[in-house]
């Protein structure tokens, strides 16, 4: 069966990211996921878009961020695409810290960690025209 597909697009501004986040949450509410799972998936897409705006587009507005969503019977796939600077490192980062060592607690670098923790597969492709972060979350079949 062909997956259901939708593409959501915003300008590269942080104030519009919530529009996609809320849309993703609503889409995920149609599939058999808990509220926490749905929330965490929304968070992953938001983190991916934030990274695109802050790093690929260096916080400059006027660029397009696309989120392609493919809903399969047993998984949902998100492709977050941009035409900005490519990410240098998309490997699963570690988030090791001593909770007692307040001065050295991480304030950033948690977005990619969250994505790798929540999603089942994460891939990043980059060519001269486009960068795409693809994230897949599997779930039990739904009717």
């Amino acid at each position: 069966m062909e997956p259901k597909r939708i593409t959501l697009s915003i300008d590269s501004t942080l104030k519009d990211v919530a529009l996609i986040g809320l849309s993703i949450n609503k889409i995920c509410s149609q599939i058999p996921l808990t509220d926490v799972e749905t929330y965490q998936i929304e968070a992953c897409v938001v983190e991916a878009i934030n990274n695109t705006i802050e790093h690929a587009y260096e916080n400059k507005t006027g660029h397009r961020v696309d989120v392609h969503v493919s809903l399969h019977l047993d998984r949902i796939v998100f492709q977050v695409s941009d035409t900005g600077l490519s990410m240098k490192n998309t490997l699963s980062p570690s988030l090791d810290f001593d909770p007692e060592d307040i001065e050295n607690l991480p304030e950033g670098g948690m977005g990619l960690f969250i994505i790798h923790q929540v999603m089942d597969t994460v891939t990043y492709t980059s060519n001269t025209h486009k960068n795409t972060l693809e994230m897949t979350k599997a779930f039990l079949d739904h009717p």
């Binding site: 919530a18 929330y39 965490q40 988030l95 969250i114």
Partner: protein
């Protein structure tokens, strides 16, 4: 970012009046909290009861505030919902912050 504050003894209680604590508001939150801390408020209860979404930028801003209050102060979390709490657990920040079910519990813990 809209914040509501009240004082209980030497404890500053800050309630976020937003639904989302994300990258859009994180910088502003950090700056506003920085002003309260610089004014001498070093014991803070941050009530997340109205927040239904937090991302890593929001978490990072709260961590920044904890660093700002320093070892002589304290910043604890109150009334975080299940979904928001899941983000603290996912990033292991639940090991850093004391998290209380109610604002009263948080205030009591700081008062003792």
């Amino acid at each position: 970012m809209r914040l509501e504050t009240k004082i209980d003894g030497d404890i500053l209680i800050v309630r976020a009046l937003e639904k989302r604590m994300d990258a859009k508001v994180a910088v502003e939150f950090r700056a506003e909290m920085g002003r309260y801390i610089d004014d001498g408020h070093r014991r803070i209860v941050f009530n997340l009861g109205d927040i239904n979404f937090i991302d890593s930028s929001g978490l990072g801003a709260i961590v920044s505030c904890l660093k700002h209050v320093g070892r002589e102060g304290d910043l604890v979390i109150a009334e975080a919902g299940e979904t928001v709490l899941s983000m603290f657990k996912l990033t292991r920040m639940d090991r850093v912050f004391q998290i209380f079910a109610t604002e009263n519990d948080a205030v009591k813990s700081m008062a003792t």
